[in-house]
């Protein structure tokens, strides 16, 4: 692992990141690093601090202490304006596609919104064909451009959110449980889309999830979080095959898998 990471440039390096909510320590001295083109999965049960980590990295929440180095630059030291400009390179996709899209905006407006904010990326006359290209990329029909989110299914909404995140050609993409609000059969579509795009475009990503079966399929490295602390981290294969921490073992044991003998079968025996 070490050799591999050393060889590539580090995109994000988090050092001793801590976040308190009053008495609650949501993040406790988090340390990790993501290299160029890598997919890092963050797993852990509900309330373990995964979303807090994502939000703190993007400075949607103020960190209590620590450092967040994005390509060597400490995000926590940036001015509000500097941070806003940096956000062009770091994008996030939220867990609930029913909540993350503005209800009064059409798909066209939603996808072109980022260019309104970062005007230098795409001049206005290019918007129509750029939106068309993005919709095509995420596999949505062009006719959807004029629809409001209320008319779309969960999977379609998440595609809109992905198109919006890709509009700025981000360098780092943070995905906070992008498929857990979706039906299993739609999850596969969205995952496949994300991974195909990742291979095409080559963005680095942090993939937050509590679905271990999914993480095993896509991640290069895994971080296991419990109560705001990292209890274990390493290459995916190693974590799944030789979990060292008790909590990781518990997570693995709790995850229903199609391969294993089921409870019902055990009952039978």
């Amino acid at each position: 692992m070490a050799a591999d990471t050393m060889a590539r440039t580090s995109v994000l390096k988090v050092e001793k990141l801590t976040k308190h909510f009053g008495q609650v320590t949501a993040l406790d001295a988090i340390d990790f690093e993501v290299a160029e083109g890598e997919i890092l999965a963050v797993v852990g049960e509900s309330g373990s601090g995964k979303s807090t980590l994502a939000r703190t990295i993007l400075r949607l929440l103020d960190a209590s202490s620590g450092r967040i180095l994005y390509r060597g630059k400490d995000l926590l030291g940036l001015s509000a304006g500097g941070m806003r400009a940096t956000r062009r390179h770091i994008q996030m996709i939220f867990q609930d596609p029913y909540a993350s899209l503005h209800p009064r905006r059409t798909v066209f407006e939603l996808v072109s919104e980022p260019w309104r904010v970062h005007a230098s990326v795409a001049p206005r006359r290019e918007w129509p064909h750029r939106v068309a290209a993005l919709l095509e990329q995420v596999g949505l029909p062009q006719s959807y451009a004029s629809l409001y989110p209320a008319r779309l299914s969960g999977g379609e909404r998440q595609r809109v959110a992905i198109a919006r995140a890709l509009a700025l050609r981000p360098d780092l993409l943070i995905l906070d449980e992008p498929v857990s609000a979706l039906d299993v059969s739609i999850q596969a579509q969205v995952i496949k889309l994300l991974m195909t795009l990742q291979q095409e475009i080559g963005f680095t990503s942090i993939f937050i999830s509590h679905d271990l079966a999914l993480v095993r399929l896509i991640a290069d490295k895994v971080i296991v979080m419990n109560r705001g602390r990292i209890v274990e981290q390493g290459p995916t294969q190693a974590i799944f095959d030789y979990p060292r921490d008790d909590y990781t073992r518990l997570l693995l044991a709790s995850s229903p898998e199609l391969g294993e003998e089921t409870t019902a079968e055990k009952q039978e025996a």
Binding site: A188, H210, T262
Partner: protein, 335 residues
């Protein structure tokens, strides 16, 4: 567990189903949510209904409970223990709900009343339905909470729903559902909103309760991996109809319907690398559409002309295995 065991007529175990659904239909205006479901559940049997979002799973569960409100219209037959439930008066249905059939709803936060304490809500079941004294009801409530795995139930009795975590609320909902010792428990995606460790606990609890009390279980889910944890029999729904049914492991190892196969292919647990995932093409069917042929035809990799012209009937491919596909036998035989 409990000293009271449910006394049941001995002959019931022979071949008479506890619940027998035939040709069940539910419409909301033009929305045809359930388009004809046939399903039998034997006493003590555990059946999972599997299907994508909007396929009519919850509506089926509610129809069995007699909980479809206007403008919803129910057709067909639902027989519980020999008694027809469709068209029954509310009073007659109320007698069945609880001791006969109970349901755990999809959203446990909505199912509990936020203004009453947890204890009150459980106790009320016994005082109102069975006319017990408060003391007696309280003792039983504590016993139930213990049974569903709430530690220190005495001290949690006066807490309100918002003071419980999602997993604990779901346990309370299960406790309330099994309070009157139902002979059939309908659990509508009881773990979808919960994370894996909590989910594992709830699934175990349901299996255990079902085994210990001998009640029948109808478990609704969209996740086959979850279904396999609790159920022995599987019913796959698509567009308001049953498309395949059979023993769950048999179906899993050897599917006889393209939709079931597609569902398996899209499950992350079934493959080694993401590129092997095979999402189901196209979009879920329009609920107000009228199908002349197989509803899955527009998305089916196997579809031929005949599929959109003529609706397939159930084909029995093996003992206890049925599939509603023109190519059921071929699928089953691996051709």
């Amino acid at each position: 567990m409990t000293t009271e065991t449910l006394i049941r007529p001995a002959d019931e175990t022979v071949a008479k189903p506890l619940l027998s659904i035939a040709g069940l239909q539910v419409r909301y205006g033009r929305t045809h949510a359930v388009r004809g479901i046939d399903l039998d559940i034997m006493p003590g049997e555990s059946v999972a209904i599997l299907g994508e979002s909007g396929s009519g799973k919850s509506v089926t569960g509610k129809a069995v409970m007699g909980l479809i409100n206007s403008p919803g219209k129910v057709g067909g037959s639902v027989e519980f223990d020999g008694m027809q439930l469709v068209g029954r008066s509310e009073a007659a249905l109320r007698a069945v709900r609880g001791p006969g059939i109970a349901m755990v709803f999809q959203d446990s936060l909505d199912a509990l009343n936020p203004v009453f304490s947890i204890g009150n809500q459980i106790i009320e079941i016994f005082t109102v339905r069975l006319g017990w004294s408060r003391r007696q009801a309280r003792d039983e409530a504590i016993r139930l909470m213990l049974q569903v795995g709430i530690v220190n139930p005495e001290s949690r009795l006066d807490d309100y729903p918002h003071q419980f975590s999602g997993g604990m609320r779901q346990r309370i909902c299960i406790a309330m559902a099994i309070a009157l010792k139902p002979r059939l428990l309908i659990a509508d995606e009881p773990t979808t909103a919960l994370d894996v460790t909590v989910q594992a606990g709830i699934l175990k609890l349901i299996s255990q309760l079902q085994r210990d009390s001998g009640m029948a279980l109808l478990f609704v889910t969209h996740d086959l991996a979850v279904a396999r944890q609790v159920a022995r029999k599987l019913v796959v729904m698509y567009a308001g109809r049953v498309v395949e049914r059979g023993p769950i492991n048999a179906v899993f190892h050897r599917t006889a319907h393209p939709y079931t196969r597609a569902l398996l292919g899209s499950n992350p647990g079934s493959v080694k690398h993401w590129s092997e995932l095979k999402p189901i093409a196209g979009n879920p069917p329009d609920k107000s559409a009228v199908f002349t042929g197989c509803a899955f035809a527009p998305r089916c990799p196997r579809a031929v002309r005949m599929c959109s012209d003529r609706e397939p009937d159930f084909v029995t491919v093996a003992d206890g295995r049925q599939s509603r596909c023109h190519f059921a036998q071929e699928m089953f035989d691996g051709r």
